[in-house]
């Protein structure tokens, strides 16, 4: 067999061995992605064939007040929850890194909420945050405080969701903990010898070295918050369908409603592509910021 023939065989063999991945990718990811791009330029009510309508769906998006409302809610949630959860997770990771008894138990307890199915999480918090009977307001009552109507008040609905997000920071904590453990000990020792305090050490050593980890978590959080769906959908589906005054109506909830309730799959596809572009733009921004301020060993 010639050299080129052997190379071709090698190439085919490689393709065959990697086929489970690339076939899956083409059929389950790339194909639907391309199809949804085409559908975003169509009127497609699911039960009838798609009809090409050009960029009409995209033009309709910017004139749709509910789309703006859902986008605004999602951005607001991202702006509040991402920094808050990040700081909270970093704080917990730092505490867990300190030598203490029962550290492994605390780690397990903090990670535990992340393995609870999201529907179960929603049901738990539905009762925890109940305005009259909820555990949280009962505890506040012991201290003589009157808790808010967490899920029934348009102002408090978003805050309640941020609280639920804080409960589920276990994954982020684990990543931060790994990052903290990677910080060279000798840097801390040198800082200590130079008389640096805890705050200075954290700000001048820990934080700069952690920037790649922080940026990674930020990217993951941006993707997750812009696809936020299950918790608000489960909590308010039966009553408000988007929280009081649509205050907890998120981008993906509106996308779902358009696709499966209003039978506007073309419009929903356009929403999905705009969502993807927003996520890509924000991720690019995070990388850009990371390149400027990030730590380079």
């Amino acid at each position: 067999m010639s050299r080129s023939g052997a190379q071709r065989n090698q190439w085919l063999l490689g393709l065959a061995w990697t086929s489970p991945w690339w076939l899956g990718f083409v059929l389950l990811t790339a194909g639907p992605l391309a199809l949804s791009l085409y559908l975003s330029f169509c009127d497609y009510p699911l039960l009838a064939r798609p009809v090409y309508i050009g960029a009409e769906n995209y033009a309709a998006l910017v004139q749709d007040p509910v789309w703006w409302k859902a986008l605004g809610n999602t951005v607001r949630f991202a702006v509040i929850s991402i920094p808050l959860c990040s700081a909270f997770a970093l704080g917990i990771a730092w505490l867990l890194q300190q030598p203490n008894r029962g550290g492994a138990i605390f780690q397990a307890l903090i990670f535990l909420p992340t393995i609870v199915p999201l529907i179960a999480t929603a049901m738990i918090w539905l009762w925890m945050l109940n305005g009259e009977l909820g555990l949280l307001n009962q505890v506040l009552r012991w201290f003589g405080l009157r808790g808010p109507n967490w899920l029934g008040d348009p102002v408090w609905a978003m805050r309640a969701l941020v609280l639920i997000a804080l409960w589920g920071v276990g994954n982020t904590v684990v990543i931060y903990l790994a990052g903290l453990n990677e910080v060279p000990r000798e840097l801390y020792e040198a800082a200590h010898l130079d008389g640096a305090g805890a705050a200075t050490t954290f700000l001048r050593i820990t934080l700069p070295i952690l920037t790649p980890v922080i940026l990674f978590n930020a990217v993951i959080a941006i993707i997750a918050t812009f696809q936020y769906f299950v918790i608000p959908f489960s909590i308010w589906r039966a009553t408000d369908r988007g929280g009081p005054g649509r205050s907890a109506y998120f981008y993906t909830s509106y996308l779902y409603d358009n696709a499966f309730l209003y039978l506007k799959m073309g419009y929903a596809s356009a929403m999905a592509w705009v969502q993807l572009l927003i996520i890509l733009a924000l991720t690019g921004l995070v990388f850009l910021v990371g390149r400027r301020v990030g730590y380079r060993p």
Binding site: P45, L47, I53, E132, L133, G152, A238, P244, D257, L261
Partner: protein
């Protein structure tokens, strides 16, 4: 073998063995020599068991003779999404249960088989049905759905709470003014001012699932083309009425009260069964829940009050529908099953088990006798009301219903005035309808005839 290995094997082996021995089994053996008719429904629990019993009977009798086997699949509340995906994917079930509001969507897009031509062969005579109920399955003058388990929505009120408030339990309110006056007398507050029991609240959270229907109680919210308008005089008055309750009982107090009610519909925490709400707007299935969870509850049923100037009592008439999705594998066998199920004695057994009314003008001799709902006759008579109405027959209805819910909620939370909310919601509705109609014209879908839509919605007229 080490102790550790024994423990691991035991921990894994015992549950696996138990699962094999006592785990779930196939509920029915599917015979290989019969044509399988797939029947998808939302019903589960008691309702699911009732329909399964009928299906078993069909499979034992007619099905066995004709070589057909019906396989029942309960999809719960997700049936709409599943059915949609199956129809879009070209593999729909042979028979399906469909929510009434979704019929125009499916019918207009050609996803359902019209049944008119088959009715004589199936032994189904539309004239035998209550007109308002038959009309629910009709769209564009064609029959796409058959009423399976119909219902009317009435006023359920707590007689014990009426007596405790000094009201005559045999004289429920008949007008909205009386409803308000009764409600105030029935409301009880705790020393800290919080609400303990309320007479009636129009909030969508207090078992008022049909928030969009309040305008019908004030007049006619449909325009000449049969389109629902929340900015109509009736629509605005309905929103003002919602706001008046909020103002009277206090926005914050009522919201905290609602939160305490929980989300349970079937269970002892249901606010009506827990005696926290004295008057509700609900359907005949309540009797099944009450008998099961609070059998001692002293309650009664009557037509819901009205604010119409002519004093007529509007009634929401609705039904689950049986449809044949287009493109199913066994349409002939599906029709055989449908014809059998729609026989009056068979269908009435199902309706009875579900606690619902009969779709037939003249129910069978035993229908009312041992019906689980002691007030079923009232529900049945309400279906014949001249002021009966159903879901507006608009293909964009799910979106409209969502916008109306937002308007009602915003008014309830004091986020906007009734007039402003009605205007804002109507703008969104108009935009959705205009966009749909433009695209429908492009698809050459026939627009719904004005008279047809209006007559269908005002099903009882």
């Amino acid at each position: 073998m080490s102790l550790r290995k024994i423990i691991i094997i035991t921990l894994l082996g015992v549950p696996a063995g138990a699962l094999l021995l006592f785990g779930p089994r196939r509920t029915a053996d599917v015979p290989c020599d019969r044509t399988i008719v797939r029947y998808w429904e939302s019903w589960a629990g008691v309702e699911g068991r009732a329909v399964q019993e009928l299906i078993d009977e069909f499979n034992r009798t007619v099905g066995a003779q004709r070589g057909v086997f019906v396989q029942y699949v309960s999809l719960g509340s997700m049936i709409h999404e599943r059915l949609l995906a199956a129809c879009a994917g070209g593999d729909p079930p042979d028979v399906a249960g469909l929510f009434a509001f979704a019929l125009p969507q499916y019918a207009e897009l050609g996803a359902l088989e019209p049944l008119d031509a088959d009715l004589p062969a199936l032994g189904i005579r539309p004239t035998e049905f209550v007109p308002a109920l038959w009309q629910i399955g009709v769209y564009h003058g064609r029959t796409y759905g058959l009423p399976s388990t119909p219902f009317t929505i009435a006023m359920y009120y707590n007689r014990r709470l009426f007596r405790a408030a000094g009201l005559d339990p045999d004289r429920p309110p008949t007008t909205f003014d009386e409803l308000r006056a009764f409600s105030e007398r029935l409301t009880r507050t705790a020393p800290d001012g919080s609400l303990q029991t309320v007479g009636f609240l129009p909030s969508p959270k207090v078992l008022n699932w049909w928030h969009w229907c309040w305008p019908f109680f004030f007049g006619d919210p449909l325009d000449e083309q049969g389109r629902y308008r929340i900015d109509s005089a009736a629509g605005v008055r309905a929103l003002e009425w919602v706001a008046s309750y909020r103002d009277r009982f206090g926005a914050e107090r009522t919201q905290v009260f609602e939160q305490g009610l929980g989300i349970v519909v079937e269970g002892a925490q249901n606010p009506f069964m827990a005696e926290r709400v004295a008057i509700i707007h609900q359907g005949p299935w309540m009797a099944n829940f009450i008998r099961r969870y609070t059998p001692d509850l002293d309650y009664a049923v009557a037509a819901f009050p009205s604010a119409r100037p002519d004093g007529s009592r509007p009634v929401l008439v609705c039904s689950d529908l049986l449809v044949l999705p287009r493109g199913a594998r066994h349409p002939r066998e599906a029709r055989l099953f449908l014809g059998w199920l729609m026989q009056q004695p068979v269908l009435e057994r199902l309706c009875k088990a579900h606690g619902k009314i009969s779709p037939f003008r003249t129910p069978g001799p035993d229908f009312f006798r041992d019906h689980p709902n002691p007030f079923i006759q009232i529900h049945h008579e309400l279906a014949a009301s001249p002021a009966a109405f159903g879901y507006p027959k608009m293909p964009t209805w799910p979106q409209i219903e969502h916008d109306v819910l937002t308007a009602v909620n915003n008014v309830w939370f004091g986020l906007g005035t009734p007039r402003d909310e009605a205007r804002a919601a109507q703008q969104r509705i108009d935009a959705a309808v205009a966009a749909y109609e433009r695209l429908a014209r492009m698809r050459c879908l026939a627009p719904v005839g004005a008279a047809d839509a209006k007559a269908s919605t005002r099903a009882g007229s």
